[in-house]
Symmetry: D2
């Protein structure tokens, strides 16, 4: 029977995997058990954020050393989903998801289940279009099957990392007679995230394939999945998928829950998702309970209507700071304040991921004291 474990580790810089190195070296983690990474690096989260590529290169070199497989192969087997930008109180860190086999134990209740998948590379001209949506949906279904999750309602979080176009990729596609949706990289990242969210919604039966067209992406925000968390970056060419849910076919103390966030001030969603896991925040999680929290995953978005609860915000009009950096910093300030810990994954660009102007939060926590 499979057991999922999650190690949340700090880094001194984007090329620093020393904590994982130590855990493998001392036998705490078996290299072969590592199935996915989700982390925050300290770049800007935009097109020119190379902290993600740097971390990924270093990670794959490390695993290559232990697994005796070429890094080029591992990068196609182990999703490494990074969100750049540790604005404000966020602390650069990465969560290592591991699976080990063990004798079935007579425990009650379902446990955290993990599944992963990779799609084929997405051509530049497909980014942000139905072909991209279909590609994501197929990969999500594969990952759910891989996790052995039987009921779609038991899926709580689907992380997808989607490729986007750069100016160079767009130019190459145009030279080849193709028509990318846009050659503006920041817009391309947004379209890619939209396609990812639609793909998740389709795979989770939340959205019928006939219920949208290409024009719905970044336009009809009534279409959304509160379980989709999509990143986009220049450093990937395929969609990389990590599915997280609960399953009676898995063992271990970890369990996951999620909640949509209605807007950037929705502290209630934070408190509620913790309560789902038996953790109180009055007003802050106690150190004992905080030690039970394995990882915190948040998506958020600057409200595109320019207001939050009726009051004007300035994130979208700021030429100096990218709007995603603004919102990540604000929402991370709120969530870290409730939990008392800056090691949280808060990722911007939540288009179609949870309510418009809001997003979602998922927490994995141990049902016993500590993370054992």
């Amino acid at each position: 029977m499979r057991t999922a474990r999650v190690f949340r580790l700090s880094m001194a810089h984007p090329g620093d995997l020393s904590e994982l190195d130590r855990l493998i070296a001392d036998g705490t983690v078996r290299g072969a058990d590592v199935v996915a990474i989700i982390g925050k690096t300290e770049g800007n989260g935009g097109v020119n954020d190379f902290t993600r590529g740097y971390f990924t290169q270093t990670l794959m070199l490390l695993l290559s050393k232990y697994l005796n497989k070429p890094a080029e192969q591992l990068i196609r087997e182990i999703p490494c989903v990074l969100s750049g930008g540790t604005e404000g109180v966020m602390s650069p860190h990465y969560s290592v998801f591991c699976i080990s086999e063990a004798e079935p134990a007579p425990e009650a209740g379902p446990s955290l289940a993990i599944g992963t998948a990779f799609s084929d590379p997405v051509p530049a001209e497909d980014i942000g279009r139905r072909a991209h949506v279909d590609s994501v949906a197929d990969a999500v279904r594969t990952a759910i099957a891989n996790a052995g999750i039987e009921r779609l309602e038991d899926v709580h979080f689907v992380q997808v990392k989607c490729p986007c176009v750069t100016v160079a990729r767009a130019a190459a596609a145009i030279a080849a007679g193709k028509t990318p949706l846009t050659n503006d990289p920041n817009r391309s990242m947004a379209y890619a995230r939209a396609a990812g969210a639609f793909g998740v919604a389709v795979a989770l039966d939340e959205l019928a394939p006939s219920a949208f067209t290409d024009a719905s992406l970044l336009s009809d925000f009534s279409i959304q999945s509160p379980r989709a968390s999509i990143s986009s970056g220049v450093e990937v060419e395929s969609n990389e998928v990590v599915v997280l849910g609960n399953s009676p076919r898995w063992m271990g103390a970890l369990r996951i829950s999620h909640r949509p966030m209605a807007d950037a001030l929705d502290i209630g969603a934070v408190v509620d998702v913790l309560a789902d896991l038996g953790i109180a925040a009055k007003p802050q999680v106690s150190p004992t309970d905080a030690a039970r929290i394995a990882t915190v995953l948040v998506k958020c978005e600057p409200d595109r209507r320019g207001r939050i609860r009726g009051n004007r915000h300035t994130m979208l009009d700021d030429t100096d700071i990218n709007a995603q950096r603004h919102i990540r910093g604000a929402v991370a300030g709120l969530v870290a304040g409730v939990i008392g810990d800056g090691r949280i994954f808060v990722s911007g660009g939540a288009e179609h991921q949870g309510p418009d102007g809001g997003g979602l939060i998922a927490v994995i926590a141990s049902q016993k004291e500590g993370l054992a």
Copy 2:
């Protein structure tokens, strides 16, 4: 008997005073009752933030029109303390502090008291030195007397806006044979804020004049005042002071309280200061109670030791986004989430203002339903 009123108004841009114009035009506010403004404009909060000067110019023109005094005179009579930078969920707004006279009513308990003062201009070479501290302390004492507050413990918040040097001012001083402390404008702003905090601490008998030297500023962070809120900017030449406290010699429903914030995750301080005023946040203030809140004033600071509760933050190492913009966005995210409203004054640069790495929060609220 004096009554203090506070109007929290929104602006569409830094030159938009239309809401105050309307309130004066319709008689809600008498122009002559306006004694101070504290607001957030949407600049960057740094040396080259001209949104503060633009707002101030527009405000003084408006008051000049109603009061029939030249703007040049009003700018020396009415403190207009602006903090630039509405990062994240903050909404550009300004609080107008008004004083009116009325017949004494047999109400119980003390009410919000307001006092203001201006120092003489501070020469560029004095910025951040003892002469600057003394200048602030004198002005604070004048403002306390002006407010009629008799016990220093009844002072809850002292806002000071200090001048700083620009490259040009520093060069002029050097050309005149003077020695400014620094010709780096961002450092000058920090020294100016330190001098302001020391000045407040001296005036409030928290710090003996003999207990520090010039070298203590920006160096000995055990020296701090949890009631000092200091801004610095190129657009002022004198120290401008607004003292807020409670006094039995004032009337009205408003009262103020404050709390130090231990660090950027100190949600407890936010909940506690609200509780001081009889407002619950479980986890968020109810809309009814939120309507009682007249204004929220926060100071914060990126922890200079590079860590928050043991976890590395990246604010001080970021060449792209100023550290003060980072911390304002994060703390505002937390406070706005508890209160459910982005119209909060969160100002960075809290050196010596509250605990190191933390800051302070003050709230003014009505003791009755609504703001009457």
Copy 3:
């Protein structure tokens, strides 16, 4: 007979009009002779650049004082075209264009001619569409007539300041049932500049009204005018036009010339436009000749294909610095180096203004020594 004069003045900050104040006070400039301002303020040049509004407010207050007309009226009579962003070696400054009447002198050759015009306000939903183009074209024709320039080839520079949408304006238009082209302010500024360039091209008979559709804007870059210089900003609601050319019906030592710039490295265009005016740069303009230069006006653009002469640039992929800030700084470095003076107007956003990826340069210089 009319004589054009141009005063290039420095400012200490965006609200500093003291140099113009002094020129009017000492009689050098008659307030009533001021017909237009073109300047560089030290903001970011983006949607949230309020240095333009601050300067404009201060200018109009100053002129109001001398002309005894309300500022609200002057702002609709005197184009004040500001470009925010003095990246790199650029120095904040403004050129004051004045017209005075004098007895005809038997001088040879044509002289600098100036004409101005204002359109009606442009509704948010028209921005970047044909109605916007038509509105600009009409205003340009009015300004040419106003300048008394008879041959279109004698027009050398047409500056237009176009309004754009903010998030708030877009939301208001949508609420009113209108459909703005975009609610992304940065994109709106680009569309507004495109409409301005098309309008100039139409007015100068470079482009037939039937030769384009709405879809041509920001899409068909073969359509361009090497005499159009378009800015866009939140602080205007109408198109403001300043036409500059040479005319035998004007007197004075000043003359204007212009050249398209093929790309951001086109130093030849800079040298050539100076040569047109009898000024050598080997490699730099001599101080004597530099004193003859009244103003330098440049438009530029980050090449949208991502390459300059075959080499990749990174301006469009930079999430930290807006691409227009990048290109302004680079082209200003080149032009200022040739001229030996940082008081140059270099404005980004040259879509359809000169060759794609390049832009244009215009210089006004005295045909005699000095500017006398």
Copy 4:
């Protein structure tokens, strides 16, 4: 007899060494001949610029593959000097310096000579102090000897990459009872560059060890070396030195020259250094001559007095864009415009490297047509 060769290669991103890989794979370059790299990556050039570390890791992996040595060893043998920030028209690229042995040919004149050296690691508390200066001077002398350059006047360019403190390194040093000069990373980078420049000046007999104290660094700007080019970054712990000069003991068509730049507008220095190498720029280098240019190395600095030739600049007062990014973009615009090519190394932070407010330019070019 040794021959120096220089290959200037482009990169698609900071982890892209494919051009060098191809040159080694096809035999154009022997891996063992690579002795140094000087390049521009597309980061921000500040403390949190990880593009340098990413490039370096990738380079060492590549060379490790060909040389069959561990990357950890190579990184201590081959200086890889990177400057982050390709503002404006600059194109990300790297110059590979190679040395090969060949039979002496009866050529006239001296040729490019290269020498390298590494110092021991510099403790955090030594950064920016005399111990740091001495460490650099020793390494420079070693590199000159290594290059076989006998006369100090034949040294034209000394590139040093110095370590700096981060917030974390400073905290660690303080915890160990040491006193770093500053714990502000950006200031530490400046002090490190100053120490590097002093070290070069000492090694080149331009500065007597007794002629300065610790207090002279970043203070007495009359001390400068027009041949020192210093970078600083978090990714190195030792001083890495590359000395470039001309020597009769070397063969080949390449030769180097340098000139101080008096200020950021000094186009004359650019034209003169090209003329030294027999290349005309009227106003731009011809494509044929441009093909002779092997590499262009520039250092520059925002004038700390706030003015360039009397006109105010705003680089030092900008809270949004780091001043070094401003100046690099401006000077690169000028130099690239003269040369007609954006593949130039322009590095900021020229404290004590060339005249105050200016810097230096060095060019390596072939004395024959093309780079053969």
